[in-house]
Symmetry: C2
Subunit: 353 residues, 2 copies
């Protein structure tokens, strides 16, 4: 059977957008499938600004989103799901569903860019009270408030006088089954702490952390910037409990630098929730029979020298579907997956000629 | 002037190899220039094994190295340097020097993959005694010993009974001008600590760190594996001094978890030296007029949504020439740069048609 000269990209977030644009810019047609009704993925939907420069997400992403939406070689299908796949590299027959109608489309290669979902802190509700107390929120809730240009206590709509970020919620935690570090939460919390100070200059802001994983340039772009320019306080410690006290939240735990218990009252608590494979990622694992690595994300082969090839020939992965990734990882993988997918189609065509 | 249908890749390490193979697999000819007499870069030359799976470097890199060396579209020039460049995107005229002879070659786009060099601990010699004491070595010296299948004290050739890794040597240090974190040293030290225990099972191994930046899957692949399976001890602290005492080394500093001074005798000290731009990277910045970002590495534009485009049209960067990168970053960037370079040539050809 002839090689289908088209690549299916599943997922329209930063990884899928970059992969789709890259493939199309290389001259190969793309079928881009997104389950939601708009492209952009989690950042477009929920993040006010992006690390490391705190630039507005929608301004920054508009270029790639527009390039994809306007590209003559990219067929964008929103509110569409991949529900089945048959065939092999060079000729996958993929069933798509849109509005209850199913169609089968051919693709020579597939890039899975279905990303992650945030850890649901309900699974730790007894510790941190996310579903019990209005003023316990997640990083994502904070971004949504900041998208609207405000940062207030949900309980009363007033600016918080004190804010505590609790790191590693749903990460580095064997009890809940997520042993890995989610990589980006230290950077995002530090970014948000700066934004809190922009929006509520008088607020006291604390970040409770186990290790501060501000790798590379984040060291001074975010970590020292937060401390020196914005007077954010980093406290190395383990928070064991958040309980309601009056109209505030009492944080109990241990300051591991000082080696003593800590109890502080806060107006607002932000849980730095980690990454888990999204439902779409698990679904693509099943449909394309992609093995999952020990943490549950899509497996890749050839680590560390190949970040995008899955064990299934012709199926590539980009972004956080393969594990916790920052935006730089994600777009680099999108570009690398584009290169690999187009190269594969070239090779298959050459072999069959 | 017609677009030159060829990409110059400068540097034959993991980033340059991946970029070269990617470009050639997309059907575009590559001119790959490497200053040394063999491809493979720093890992091939000096690293016994690679993070995160401790696989032998040369086994792992043989595939991409062989693919590049045998590729009909890749013209490999070793012991060759780029010494000048004129022209613009689509038609760079690049002067190469080999054995004292200069030739001018045309390239439509350029990928700079000239990497990093390790921080020279001589710049901190008063603190850690690298040039004074035989048994103070760097991560690189350790890798070279491990390549030869051994791990001994240089002073007497005997296996060390105790080994201390000191993290952040030349990183996160304003005094020496390197404010950034070098990203990979926590992972490499943890990897090496496991290898020390393989080679010298009775050795006691300590890692003195400020923050342990074992992001993502390194958390359990390296950090917990070192502690639980190999009994490596992680001590959060600042080492202020290494001095000779008898035939051992006295490490003085502060254990910041316990909040008390620490003084321990060690047989061998490994300095976890960070990354700085290599001489070749600085040279390429000059020749191609690529601005340097505030830490001295090659600047990129469009962060975080583009990791490989420099401010100079037609000139891309991959790997640690753009800042501290792990191997995954590096190969993803290599693939992404391949995609961008070939896309650019396609666009230029289309525009001129």
């Amino acid at each position: 059977m002839a090689t289908a000269d088209r690549v299916l990209v599943v997922g329209g977030g930063p990884a899928g957008l970059e992969a789709a644009r890259g493939i199309a810019d290389l001259g190969t047609p793309v079928l881009l499938v997104e389950a939601k009704d708009a492209l952009g993925g989690t950042p477009w939907e929920s993040y006010a600004t992006l690390t490391p420069h705190l630039a507005p997400t929608r301004e920054l992403m508009a270029e790639v989103k527009g390039a994809v939406e306007g590209h003559p070689l990219i067929d964008v299908r929103t509110t569409t799901r991949v529900v089945a796949s048959e065939g092999v590299a060079g000729n996958f027959q993929v069933t798509l569903e849109h509005d209850g109608t199913r169609v089968v489309e051919a693709a020579g290669a597939v890039v899975v860019a279905t990303g992650f979902q945030h850890f649901d802190p309900g699974r730790e509700t007894q510790m941190y009270g996310y579903y019990e107390y209005d003023d316990v929120i997640t990083l994502v809730d904070a971004e949504r408030m900041m998208q609207a240009g405000q940062f207030v206590r949900p309980s009363n709509g007033a600016p918080p006088r004190s804010v505590a970020f609790i790191q590693c919620v749903g990460s580095r935690d064997r009890r809940i089954g997520n042993q890995y570090c989610s990589k980006v939460c230290c950077g995002i919390a530090s970014k948000q702490s700066i934004e809190v100070k922009h929006l509520v200059p008088d607020a006291k802001v604390f970040i409770f952390y186990i290790d501060m994983r501000m790798y590379g340039f984040w060291e001074d772009q975010l970590y020292w910037k937060a401390q020196e320019e914005h007077k954010v306080n980093y406290i190395r410690g383990i928070v064991t409990e958040v309980i309601k006290k009056g109209d505030q939240l009492l944080i109990k735990g241990e300051d591991t630098t000082m080696g003593r218990p800590v109890e502080v009252l806060m107006d607002l608590v932000v849980l730095s929730v980690g990454m888990e494979p999204s439902a779409g990622t698990l679904e693509m694992a099943r449909i394309f029979q992609i093995p999952r690595e020990p943490h549950g994300f899509l497996a890749t082969v050839g680590e560390p020298l190949d970040t995008v090839s899955t064990p299934v020939p012709g199926v590539f992965v980009a972004g956080a579907a393969a594990g916790p990734k920052d935006l730089e990882d994600t777009v680099s993988m999108g570009g690398a997956a584009a290169m690999r997918a187009v190269s594969l189609l070239r090779r298959l065509v050459a072999q069959s000629a």
